[in-house]
């Protein structure tokens, strides 16, 4: 029995553009799924539908109703007028979490683990991009989510910083095992992180390939070690290339 079921007939924007059509997939509990597709195809819209931020669609989305949900957006979206710690406390003080007596202990552990203890009283505006993402990671994991939605969270960071954050994410995922939907247009990133990659077509988006990643964990952290796999995949299914930026073209180097 799967944990998450997505069965979308279609999603049409108020301006008449159909962005998602006949999009169906299911995810197991604790599975890490990457959604890869050309930009502008409605990947963010899909996450918004699953998060319940947008209920204007035809179809059904099911996961257990008591699931705690976290969302990491493209930008960290910390509240700039609250310190790092207060940003996290705000989420922990929501009515649904008041009964959880372990929540502040967990916050301390996560702050420690993500090396933010010295910056707990800083405002987001005083932090670097990578540190803001780390704070957003703490906020996302401190609630012990059953379902974690991530919308290109490491985009617009320099590669070493992004690489560090991916390793942190993997570590947190191993420890907490939420079901993750990770939107990206970076195939390397998807190969590094995911159990399964769902490739989306151009608009109106549907799934053109459901690809289980044939790699054991822990995976090689260096992107060039994933390159042969990416080349092989793209040689078999050249249509996947459309709109997906690659670091090297197949057959090169």
């Amino acid at each position: 029995m799967s944990f998450l079921h997505v069965d979308l007939q279609h999603k049409i924007y108020p301006n008449g553009v159909c962005t998602l059509q006949d999009l169906h997939f299911a995810a197991d509990k604790g599975e890490f799924i990457a959604l890869v597709g050309p930009s502008g195809t409605g990947k963010s819209t899909l996450l918004n539908l699953i998060a319940g931020l947008d209920s204007d669609f035809h179809g059904s989305i099911h996961y257990p109703p008591d699931t705690s949900l976290s969302f990491m957006f493209q930008e960290p979206h910390l509240l700039p007028w609250l310190s790092v710690e207060d940003n996290i406390r705000l989420v922990l003080d929501a009515p649904a979490r008041q009964a959880d007596t372990q929540r502040f202990t967990r916050m301390e552990t996560l702050l420690e683990q993500l090396d933010l203890t010295d910056f707990r009283n800083s405002f987001p505006g005083q932090l670097s991009g990578g540190m803001k993402r780390r704070a957003a990671l703490v906020r996302a994991f401190v609630t012990q989510p059953g379902l974690l939605l991530m919308d290109e969270p490491f985009q617009s960071l320099d590669e070493p910083t992004a690489q560090g954050l991916r390793q942190l994410l993997l570590q947190l995922w191993e420890e907490n095992r939420p079901t993750v939907l990770f939107v990206t247009h970076n195939l390397n990133e998807a190969l590094l992180l995911a159990d399964r990659i769902l490739f989306l077509s151009a608009r109106p988006a549907h799934i053109i390939l459901d690809y289980p990643v044939p790699l054991a964990r822990p995976r090689p952290p260096e992107t060039h070690q994933l390159q042969p796999l990416q080349d092989e995949l793209l040689q078999q299914r050249p249509e996947l290339l459309c709109g997906i930026p690659t670091f090297y073209q197949p057959g090169q180097g």
Partner: protein, 246 residues
């Protein structure tokens, strides 16, 4: 130079200019700062100044609070709901442009020459400008932050108080500053027209006796209160609320 000193120097310069002008003109129509200060001191000792000032201040506080509460609520409503904005916009334009004097006279005629009419007239004059400012603020709200609140299931109060309201602070301070300035002015007119106490009433008396020294003494007391309010209340509060902007 520290802004505190520049402010102080600007004020001293103004007083000096006043003194020089008074010497130069040597007229009964423009007493110098020292003479005015002396009158102020006498009025202060007799207790009269404090009484009238107190009455006026109370009216200012009540009508300011009323105007801010109503104006903020309406402004948020109009800024966030297109429908309400369409319905109320014409009334808002009307409210902005009706002369203060008309509102005051109508309030006094319809509600009688009482405290309620006075306070209401002042508040009614101020509400539209608060609405306009807060409507701008509500239109500029960052919806992505509200999505964060929704996803993490914050309570309505948390969302309003920690996510929504902080985005309106600059607009609230703008409205409060302009509000105070406008309300001082209107309260005095209201008092002049229909009250038997308060600074406006006193200024009316001095006007009848052509007592410029008295007029300026009350004005000075007033100016001091405004400066104190700004320095001791508004500016520290603003600095506290904006401490995250570095």
């Amino acid at each position: 130079m520290h802004p505190r000193y520049s402010r102080l120097i600007a004020l001293c310069g103004f007083v000096l200019l006043w003194q020089v002008a008074a010497w130069w003109l040597a007229s009964r129509s423009l007493p110098g700062p020292l003479a005015v200060l002396e009158t102020l001191w006498q009025q202060l000792l007799s207790g009269e100044l404090l009484f009238h000032l107190g009455v006026t201040l109370l009216r200012v506080v009540v009508s300011f609070t009323l105007a801010m509460l109503a104006g903020v609520a309406l402004g948020i409503l109009m800024g966030s709901r297109r429908n309400w904005d369409n319905w109320l916009d014409a009334l808002l334009i009307l409210g902005l442009n009706i002369p203060a004097l008309v509102t005051i006279i109508l309030c006094y005629i319809w509600l009688g020459l009482g405290e309620t009419a006075a306070v209401l007239a002042v508040a009614l004059n101020k509400i539209p400008t608060v609405v306009v400012t807060l409507r701008e603020g509500a239109r500029a709200i960052d919806h992505e932050l509200l999505q964060v609140a929704q996803v993490y299931r914050l309570s309505r109060w948390q969302t309003f108080h920690q996510v929504y309201l902080p985005q309106l602070y600059p607009y609230l301070f703008g409205a409060a500053r302009n509000g105070l300035a406008l309300i001082w002015k209107i309260v005095l007119v209201v008092e002049l027209l229909g009250r038997s106490n308060g600074v406006g009433f006193q200024l009316g008396n001095y006007f009848h006796f052509f007592d410029i020294q008295g007029v300026l003494a009350y004005t000075l007391a007033f100016a001091l209160i405004v400066l104190a309010l700004e320095a001791l209340l508004l500016r520290p509060l603003e600095r506290h609320v904006n401490r995250w902007r570095t």
